[in-house]
């Protein structure tokens, strides 16, 4: 269980929060002009990278406020937290450390606890 620093309430257990998936996917304003493929891209497609990921969280059992976080999905480290009206920190601020156990493949978990 990770610890999340709600920008309104402070550090709380993960169990108080809900994850809202990828951040900065704006709802298209002119949906009537979009073709099926582009609209489908908005509705159904989300990134799922191994490493640095900009995502949304809501303090659902707390202040009920939404906010954004930058998380390293391979280590579960939360690298930055910022409010919705703040600019996202640039990806260059973070080194993309994929330091899950052992030899670290680009994809997959590398379920092998012995260092080679």
């Amino acid at each position: 269980m990770i610890l999340i620093n709600c920008p309104y309430c402070g550090e709380r257990d993960q169990s108080e929060f809900s994850n809202g998936g990828e951040a900065h996917v704006a709802r298209p304003e002119n949906s009537e002009n979009l073709n099926d493929k582009d609209w489908g891209q908005y509705v159904f497609y989300r990134d799922n990278p191994k490493g640095i990921f900009y995502e949304r969280w809501v303090h659902s059992h707390g202040c009920r406020k939404w906010f954004n976080a930058v998380r390293n999905t391979s280590t579960d480290e939360i690298l930055a937290i910022y409010k919705l009206n703040e600019n996202p920190p640039s990806k260059e601020n973070f080194t993309n450390t994929l330091k899950t156990p052992s030899g670290e493949p680009k994809v997959g978990s590398g379920n092998f606890t012995v260092k080679k």
């Binding site: 269980m1 949906s31 009537e32 659902s60 939404w66 606890t113 012995v114 080679k116």
Partner: protein, 994 residues
């Protein structure tokens, strides 16, 4: 040759405790575990093994025990308790497990003779066919024989959860843990010291390896240290607390047993689950000794050498005064010394190492004390009936037989890396220590002492000062004097060569799950050469002990078979929990009535008085139906309630309905975006049935929207959907449309709701609310009025979920019961009937109204339900609008809502059945039957006197009037049905609007 007390031990108290094992009474001392007390009484046979029912004795002296698993008959009839951990108290009743009729004579041990059948993968290979045998024959038999203990009945254990937020956690109160704690006394750090045992000291208490610390006896030093820690302001000690998991962001779970060595007090909590957050974790949890595989290495009497030594010092019992010692490393020297110091003489000392490795000092000591010793030798096996009688020692191809009833073995020691690997730290193989030891930490984890692979106690202080130099503390100075000067050395040895004597002779690798070294070899031969596959195929190290004394051995054996290095074989994944923990500890207070809150309406007690049968709807308790008399069946009650409602009037307690108030400058714009309907032209003080979609165009929720004005709306939601709808509204307001000035608020529990409907409902409400004009002209369908009544504000809306003339009444909950009773007072003259959710569902189905979650399942668009009229097509945008014109959602062969009735009106259609095109059952036809759809709702209509049903059928709109078939669980044929409109009653809506 039997057990003796160690009179020098400080744990021999004169406080005797009597207890029962398998019905027989024994005496132990206070502080004894079940295991130490049984050993004291010369009880060697304590259990039967899992698969072969072989006789087993106590093997270890702690959490790693694979054999001594017992059931505690008092308390909660707790099964699978480790005898080596559970302390006895006066009157405790213990029984052995997995045997019948008795431990001494166990019928199940026939499995041992049949063992060629039960080799690795036996279950996977054997119970394959014929078809149907698994469910009816194999599974019931296997279930009966599976498992060890009997599950407790009427279990009601109490446990609590406690949170900690600290700077440093020290796991283990042994030598390294105590030195670290001393270093941290009165520093700025908030420290928690966790010890699994009931006292501190670890290796200092368990052996005589350390002579003096700072010129003090170890016990004296421990007491001094404990007092210093207790007097400090920053360190808290938790004893009897076992860390079971090490999670991300230094989150630890520890389980504290609150009733060690005493009877459980049912009025107090038995267990505390500590949830710990820390900045740094210091692992000082030591090591675990491993065993060696040889012929019959499971016979009662075989015990790990360090455990034997622990029984002598920690519990004051010498399990056997003249055992044979078999080792491949230097740690057993202190056991030898302990025995000789007490005046006992080991029957033999067997060491697989050579002269140089053993060292002159130890050899001289053996010679001086006249102990028979064999170097460069191995134990080939041991024999005996339910306990060891003779031990066969093999030295340069000669077999020497030695008589003894116990054999102490040591195959080396493993750093207890379980928690370290749980924390995602990396381990590496150490050729010198012949084991895995921690390498790189993944979190803020520091390993100290033997868990880090440092087996040299003299260097502990240096290691601690080095590794903790980043902390703002002073270096600590301590002088540690050892009893043995020899440095740790070991000769790799996993299994000794033996001659197979009989079927009975086995060389085990996993004692708990009865896995033999032969099984490992067979598994590799059959292609399971990856360690993770091999583990699952053989069930090696998958018992409740998780292979704590044997998993590294199996890697050693497999690496030999595969001719690989052990580091190439790798380890299996270590997962939490470290040791079994009971479900009640995890559940904490969230049990029984505290598991989930129950929500009741203000009318709840009235419902009980009127014989309501309740149904759970989310957290709500809702009346399902009301029994008019005790024997009335649900069917009869529902038919009666439905008929009466259509005849005169019925009333439903709809207080559970979700209600959300929407206010603000931009409320109208917000509503237009959230719902499919158009609200701009809607008149104030009118209401409308509305739909909410997801962005994918699928129906998410429905409800009635009341518009007070452009800045104020109240919506209802489904009873279960209210939290989600409110959360969705919040999400869009915060993330997509922050420019809208709108406030949303849940008012579900601020208003009680009654739905009164039926042709006489107008007469009844007119008598209750005498000041209000309920005439059709002044109070038309889908409008509402707000007025003062009983010193509060009441809102009455003309709406209906039954198809009859109906009103929804909203009132503050503290006046609700009074009003409800008043309605019944005036309703009596009209035979007003209370009805529950089942009648509500029946009545709405007769009218063709859908229920979200019954007709819809997250794949249904409004178009599929012929709700085209509810979509504000002229609106530029609303959630899900664009998806309604996607190529997939605009297909005309999507499943669409239709009504179906059986052609033979006496037949009944079941909910959930498939709709197909053919009459015969699929069994009798060879080609697969095309599935057209399913029956979503079905009832017997008392008002039409036949079955009515709704179904979602592919291209249903085009099939109107055609004949189809519905599958059935009875009879031999599918039921012929006709596709009709889903509106069965009053399709012209005359009743609604009159």
């Amino acid at each position: 040759m039997s057990a003796a007390d160690n009179k020098n031990s400080s744990y021999i108290t004169d406080k005797e405790v009597s207890f029962k094992f398998d019905g027989k009474k024994y005496i132990g001392y206070k502080g004894d575990t079940i295991a130490s007390a049984l050993l004291r009484n010369n009880v060697r046979l304590v259990a039967r093994s899992f698969k072969y029912h072989r006789p087993r004795g106590i093997y270890t002296c702690g959490i790693e025990e694979p054999n001594g698993i017992v059931q505690i008959l008092n308390e909660h009839n707790e099964p699978n308790t480790r005898a080596t951990v559970k302390q006895i108290y006066e009157g405790i009743r213990v029984s052995s497990q997995n045997r019948w009729p008795s431990l001494n004579l166990d019928i199940g041990s026939i499995n041992n003779l049949l063992s060629p059948m039960f080799s690795a993968g036996f279950y996977y290979k054997t119970f394959m066919g014929p078809k149907g045998f698994w469910k009816r024959i194999y599974e019931p038999i296997i279930r009966r024989t599976a498992g060890l203990g009997k599950p407790p009945k009427e279990f009601r254990s109490k446990s609590i959860h406690q949170n900690h937020n600290v700077d440093i956690v020290i796991i283990g109160g042994g030598l390294s843990g105590l030195i670290t704690a001393r270093k941290l006394i009165n520093t700025q750090y908030d420290v928690l010291l966790l010890e699994q045992d009931s006292f501190l000291g670890g290796i200092l208490k368990n052996s005589k390896k350390i002579e003096k610390i700072n010129n003090k006896e170890p016990n004296e030093w421990i007491n001094e240290t404990e007092k210093l820690i207790k007097d400090s302001k920053n360190i808290k000690i938790l004893k009897n607390s076992l860390v079971t998991s090490y999670n991300f962001t230094n989150h630890l779970i520890a389980l504290e047993d609150k009733s060690v060595g005493k009877k459980i007090d049912i009025n107090k909590s038995e267990l505390t689950l500590h949830k710990i957050r820390t900045t740094h974790t210091i692992l000082a949890n030591g090591h675990i000794e491993r065993f060696i595989s040889f012929r019959n290495n499971d016979l009662p009497g075989v015990m790990l050498a360090a455990s034997f030594e622990k029984y002598i010092h920690r519990y004051g019992v010498v399990p056997e005064t003249s055992p044979v010692i078999f080792t491949n490393n230097s740690t057993t020297a202190s056991l030898l010394r302990s025995l000789i110091d007490l005046g006992h003489k080991p029957a033999a000392y067997v060491d697989s190492r050579n002269k140089d490795k053993i060292g002159r000092k130890l050899l001289n000591y053996l010679e001086k004390n006249n102990i028979p010793f064999y170097i460069n030798a191995e134990v080939e096996g041991c024999d005996g009936n339910k306990k060891i009688k003779t031990i066969s020692i093999k030295k340069s191809n000669k077999i020497i037989k030695v008589k003894s009833s116990m054999l102490c073995i040591s195959g080396g020691i493993n750093p207890d890396i379980h928690l370290f690997t749980q924390s995602k730290g990396l381990v590496k193989w150490d050729d010198k220590l012949v084991t895995f030891k921690p390498d790189v930490s993944f979190q803020n984890t520091i390993t100290l002492g033997s868990v880090s692979g440092n087996y040299n106690y003299e260097k502990t202080v240096e290691e601690i000062n080095n590794k903790l130099s980043f902390l703002k503390t002073k270096n600590i100075k301590l002088k540690i004097e050892l009893n043995d000067i020899s440095n740790f050395n070991i000769k790799e040895l996993w299994e000794t060569k033996h001659e197979r004597k009989s079927n009975w002779s086995k060389s085990f690798i996993d004692l708990h799950n009865d896995v033999t070294t032969k099984d490992l070899k067979q598994a590799v031969r059959e292609g399971f050469d990856r360690i993770e596959h091999l583990k699952r195929f053989t069930t090696n190290s998958m018992g409740t002990d998780q292979g704590k004394i044997s998993s590294i051995n199996s890697l050693g054996i497999v690496s030999k078979i595969l001719k690989k290095k052990i580091s190439e074989v790798g380890t299996t994944t270590y997962r939490p929990p470290y040791a079994p923990l009971s479900f009640s500890a995890i559940a904490g207070r969230n049990t029984y009535e505290f598991y989930d809150p129950q929500r009741k309406t203000p009318i709840h007690n009235w419902h009980i008085e009127n014989k309501a049968v309740f149904e759970d709807v989310g957290q709500w308790k809702r009346p399902w139906y009301f029994k008019k008399f005790e024997m009335e069946s649900m069917h009869l009650a529902v038919q009666r309630e439905s008929e009466q409602t259509r005849k005169t009037a019925g009333i439903l307690d709809g207080s559970t309905l979700g209600k959300i108030e929407i206010k603000g400058k931009d409320a109208l714009e917000f509503m237009n975006l959230m719902y499919t309907n158009a609200f701009t032209k809607m008149k104030p003080m009118s209401s409308r049935y509305a739909l909410m979609l997801g962005e994918d165009g699928m129906i998410k929720d429905d409800g009635i929207v009341c518009k007070f004005n452009d800045k104020h709306f109240i919506v209802t939601t489904t009873s279960g959907g209210a939290p989600k709808v409110l959360a969705d509204m919040e999400e869009y307001l915060q993330t997509e449309w922050p420019h809208l000035q709108v406030y949303v608020n849940s008012i579900t529990e601020q208003f009680s709701t009654f739905n009164i409907s039926g042709p006489k409902s107008r007469d009844i409400v007119s008598k209750v609310f005498t000041d209000v004009d309920f005439s059709n002209e002044n109070f038309p369908f889908m409008t509402f009025k707000v007025f003062d009544y009983m010193d509060t504000e009441v809102r009455v809306m003309r709406a209906s979920f039954t198809g009859e003339l109906g009103y929804e009444i909203y009132i503050t909950p503290n006046k609700a019961l009074e009003l409800w009773k008043k309605i019944f007072h005036f309703g009596k003259a009209y035979d007003l009937v209370p009805y529950g959710t089942e009648t509500m569902h029946l009545l709405r189905a007769e009218k063709g109204y859908v229920v979200i979650g019954q007709e819809t399942d997250g794949t249904v668009t409004p178009l599929d339900l012929n709700f085209n009229w509810m979509i504000g097509k002229k609106k530029k945008d609303f959630i899900g609008k664009r998806s309604l014109t996607r190529s997939d959602t605009s297909r005309d062969d999507r499943k669409q809502l239709v009504g179906i009735v059986p052609i033979d009106k006496s037949e009944f259609i079941e909910e959930g059945q498939h709709v197909v095109e053919c009459e015969r059952l699929p069994k009798q036809i060879r080609t697969p039957v095309e599935y057209l759809g399913h029956v979503s709702s079905s009832y017997h209509s008392p008002n039409l006197n036949h079955c009515i049903a709704m179904a979602m059928i592919k291209g249903g709109n085009k099939l109107m009037g055609s004949k189809l078939f519905v599958s059935s669980t009875y009879g031999t044929k599918n039921i012929p049905v006709e596709v009709v409109s889903p509106v069965f009653i009053d399709p012209e809506n005359k009743r609604l609007v009159s």
